[in-house]
Symmetry: C2
Amino acid sequence: MSKTATAIADAFQDLVMQRGYNAVSYADLAQLLGMRTASIHYHFPGKADLGLAVLRRYTEAFFQALKEPTPDDPQSYVTAFESFLAPIRHMLTRDDTSCLCGVMSAEYASMSEDIQNELGAFFAKQSHWLATVLDGGTRAGVLTCPGPAKETARLMIAALQGATLIKKSTHDARYLENALDGLEALIIPGKKT
Amino acid sequence: MSKTATAIADAFQDLVMQRGYNAVSYADLAQLLGMRTASIHYHFPGKADLGLAVLRRYTEAFFQALKEPTPDDPQSYVTAFESFLAPIRHMLTRDDTSCLCGVMSAEYASMSEDIQNELGAFFAKQSHWLATVLDGGTRAGVLTCPGPAKETARLMIAALQGATLIKKSTHDARYLENALDGLEALIIPGKKT
DNA sequence: GTCTATATTTTGATAGAC
DNA sequence: GTCTATCAAAATATAGAC
């Protein structure tokens, strides 16, 4: 992605995480970046292209930030779990943005088919990764699950998504703090809130 | 609210819960209801009026469905808690809609000030009600909280919101099922998934 | 790659007849 | 209360000069 394309994608992503996909226009981006809408169309022919590009970049970065556990090292499951929470914990630094995938899911029926598929894949993949870590960590004796790993993974992902949304409308970081700390305390033995 | 106004509000709410607020137009509603956009403007002068009316109706219905606990009856805390989950469990019957407040929170920065305030109040009020029930139920010995009532309440609300969003993009009801059952199992002693 | 200019469609909204 | 007619602005997008 070129420098300009990256700047456009950055600006778009930021605004979508605040307002939602359908509330951001090429005109908004053009003004913000000091260019014309035609220039944006050169880099991203249509809005759906821009949306998909930003979403793909976002999900790729998300999965690349995850640390894979090594089955022979029990503690690596804890490290893997923490690598999952770290980027989400970083969202506490902004009270006006939610996860891009959560926002786009809210607007699901108005998204392009490509974006819809990408969203579904994001949650499925995330769910599978987390369940594997929870399962392995439980077997290794370094994590405790209140229920089946798959179900606990889904509950956790839902809680974190919900918290990043609610923190926008309440301006209250405690929803995300409580979700992060509460889930950590539930899953990592000895960890207390 | 008149019969027509109610029909407009119903249609609007349903579409917003699927697509998001900014993806629903007066033209969509007019076509769906077999009337002209001018007729809708008669009942709701502006889109923000319609959005606020629908949101107010939604939150009022939500709180009216809650059963208040009676401090002298321990079991009433369990009943109160169940009355909170029941309408959310009902959302399992649709895989294409999310909670109106979650959707609007996703689009928060593009909402009118009135709507923003209503959203903040909804989560604050819900949070307070649930924390009171969890606290009372714990003291009465019929509920168990893994942490402080206030924090557990926030975690639960976040999990349920997130689950209704994710179920749209995954077409997978298990996110909401696992959130409902998992939280219930966590809070009601003896209840097992 | 970015611009000017322009086109098309949609959106949110109003005036006034019926 | 609903309609026709109309509107101004915005959103998405393209053609072609520079």
